[in-house]
C-alpha cells in the first residue's frame, strides 16, 4: 500500500470490496457512493446503484460527483428516475441487497444517530440534519453496511437517539419491533472491519487494516469489542483501485 493513501481513500476502497456483482445497492452520497461507483467500474459491472432521490442505475461522471441524492449529477445516464417514494418501495419489496450508509454516532448494536445530541429530542443540545433515507435503508434492505471514520466520539456505548435501527438492543429485539428483514452485517471503518455476534448481536472485530492492531481499534471505540473467531488483515488498496478512485473525484470533494 502506498504510504500516501488517506483515510477517505482507504475507506472507499475497503467499502467497495464489500459489494458483489449481480446485486443491487442503495447508496448514500459521499464515500458510500464513491465506493459503489468504484465497485461498478472495477469488479461488479452488473451491480445496480439505487439513490434515494429517485435514481436507478446512474453512471457517475468522473469530476462531476453529486453533492446530494437528487440532482442532475446523481442521475446522469440513469436507467430510471422513479418518484422518491417508489425508489424506497423497491427496498421495501425486497429488491435491494445492500444498504450502504454513513453514520454520525453508532453504538455496539449498530444503531445510528443522525438526529439530535442530548437527552430531550424537543430540546436538543445539538440538532443534526436528520435521517433522510437512512432509517428506511436500515429498516428495509436485505443487509446494511455502515461506512464510517473510526473515532471514539462516534463509537459510543449508547446513542442519544436511535435514528436508524441496527440490532436495537440485540437478542432478537429488532425482529420483535416488527423489523422482519435485514439488519447491519458490517461496519467498514478507517481502522478495520467490524461485524456482529450471531446471537448477542454485539459488535466485534472481524478484520484489521494493514498496520492497525486490535488494541488500536479497541482504544478508539467507546464500548468493549469482542473478536470474531478468526480476525484477518485486509489486503491494502491496490494501485488500480486507487487510480480508479482518484479519477472519480479529481476535485477531492469527498476524498479530502
Amino acid at each position: 500500500m502506498s504510504a500516501s493513501v488517506n483515510a477517505a481513500e482507504l475507506l472507499a476502497v475497503m467499502a467497495s470490496r464489500q459489494l458483489r456483482d449481480d446485486t443491487t445497492v442503495f447508496a448514500g452520497v459521499g464515500v458510500p457512493l464513491l465506493a459503489a461507483a468504484l465497485a461498478c467500474q472495477r469488479h461488479a459491472p452488473r451491480l445496480t446503484m439505487i439513490i434515494e432521490g429517485g435514481i436507478i442505475g446512474p453512471e457517475i461522471a468522473p469530476g462531476r460527483l453529486p453533492i446530494s441524492t437528487n440532482e442532475m449529477r446523481a442521475g446522469r445516464r440513469a436507467t430510471m428516475l422513479p418518484a422518491i417514494t417508489d425508489a424506497f418501495l423497491f427496498a421495501q419489496r425486497g429488491f435491494v441487497d445492500v444498504g450502504f450508509m454513513g453514520g454520525a454516532q453508532i453504538d455496539r448494536y449498530g444503531n445510528i444517530n443522525t438526529s439530535t445530541l442530548g437527552t430531550d429530542y424537543w430540546k436538543p443540545k445539538v440538532r443534526l440534519p436528520g435521517t433522510g433515507g437512512a432509517n428506511d435503508i436500515a429498516s428495509l434492505c436485505r443487509e446494511v453496511i455502515i461506512v464510517t471514520a473510526h473515532e471514539k466520539r462516534r463509537f459510543v456505548e449508547k446513542v442519544d437517539f436511535v435514528t436508524s435501527p441496527g440490532w436495537l438492543g440485540g437478542d432478537g429485539s429488532r425482529r420483535r419491533a416488527g423489523l422482519l428483514f435485514g439488519g447491519v452485517s458490517r461496519v467498514v471503518t478507517t481502522l478495520g472491519i467490524l461485524g456482529f455476534d450471531g446471537e448477542t448481536r454485539s459488535m466485534r472485530i472481524e478484520a484489521t487494516h494493514p498496520g492497525v492492531t486490535v488494541e488500536e481499534i479497541r482504544a478508539n471505540t467507546g464500548f468493549p469489542l469482542g473478536l470474531a473467531p478468526e480476525v484477518v488483515v485486509t489486503e491494502p488498496p491496490s494501485d488500480d483501485e486507487l487510480a480508479m478512485l482518484r479519477a472519480l473525484d479529481p476535485e477531492r470533494r469527498f476524498l479530502g
Binding site: R64, S68, E71, M72, I84, T85, Y121, N135, L140, L179
Partner: protein, 323 residues
Amino acid sequence: MGDPRLKPAEHDFVAARRRLEAKPKSAGEKLTTLEDAARRVRDGDHVAVGGCLFSRTPLALVREILRARPRGLTLTRNLMCTEGELMMAAGAVERVVTAWMSIGLPWGVSKVMRHYVETGKVAMEEWSHLALGLRFRAAAMGLPFLPALTMLGSDLAGVGGMKTIQDPYSGETLAAVPALFPDVALLHVHRADRFGNCQVDGYPHMDGDIARAATTVLVTTEELISEDETRRHPDRTVIPGFAVDALALVPWGSFPHECYGLYEADFDHFAEYTAAIDARGMDAVGEYLGRYVYGPATWDEYLELFGGERLALQRRRARDLVG
C-alpha cells in the same frame, strides 16, 4: 416526548375529503400572476413544498410568500434546503416537518436550522424519507394511513406520534404511517398549459402526491404551452388541471436551485451564502433576505442580482449533464 405544536388533525382524512369536495375543480383558466398565487397562503397554514433539496424548489413562490411577511406557518418538505432557512430567518415558520435539513455535505450542518431548532423557536418534526413520502401518498389516496415496514423500533417513531397496526392476515406488526393533508402545496414544473395541466422532466420527486394531498395547489412553470401541446403528449402530464388552483409563468423559478435539464444549481452561490453565515451568523441571513427577498420587487429584478452570464453558465452545465 411530545410538543404542543404537533397537529394530529393533519391526517383527518374525512375532513380533508370534505374540503376537496367543497372546492371547485375547474378545467378552466388557472393562469395568474405570481403575486396573486402567493396571496393565497394564509397565516398559520400548513405549506408543503415540492421538489427535493435544491432540485425544482418553487423558490419564486417561496420568495413572493415571504414578501407578504406571513406568520405561524408549518412547512413540510422531504429534504429541506435554503428555502427552509429563509422561512425560519424571516420568522414565517413555527414548525418544520422533514426527514433532513441542511444544504449538502460540502457546506456542513445548517447553522440556521441549528440556531432556530436548538433555541426552540422552530419545532423540527422528523419522519423518515419514505414515511414522509407515504404520508403524502396516503393523503393522495384519500386514506388515513398506509401500512409500512419502515420507522419501526427506532426513536424516530415516537417523534411525530406514529402508531403501529397488526396485520389482520399474518399478525405481524406494521407501521401505520399517517396521511398528511397540507393546506397549500407549492410546486414548480417544467411546462404547463393555462388550464394547469403540468408536465415535469427528470425527477418526479413527490410532486404528484403532494398535488393530490393538498387543499390548495399553487404552481409556477418554466414554460407555458398550448392546450394542443398538452393533448399531443398527455402521457407527460403529472398533475391534472382540475387539481391546480393557480398557475404563474416564472422562467428560472427555482434558481439558484436546479431545474432538471434547464439549469444546474449554483454551488458557488451556496458557498458564498454559507461562508457569510460562518462569518457573521444569523445577521448574514438577515442581510440575504434584504438583498434577495425584500429588496427586488420582481423575480426578474431578483435574477438580475445573479446576472445573465451566471444563468447562461448554469444552463450550459445542465445541458452538458442531461443533453
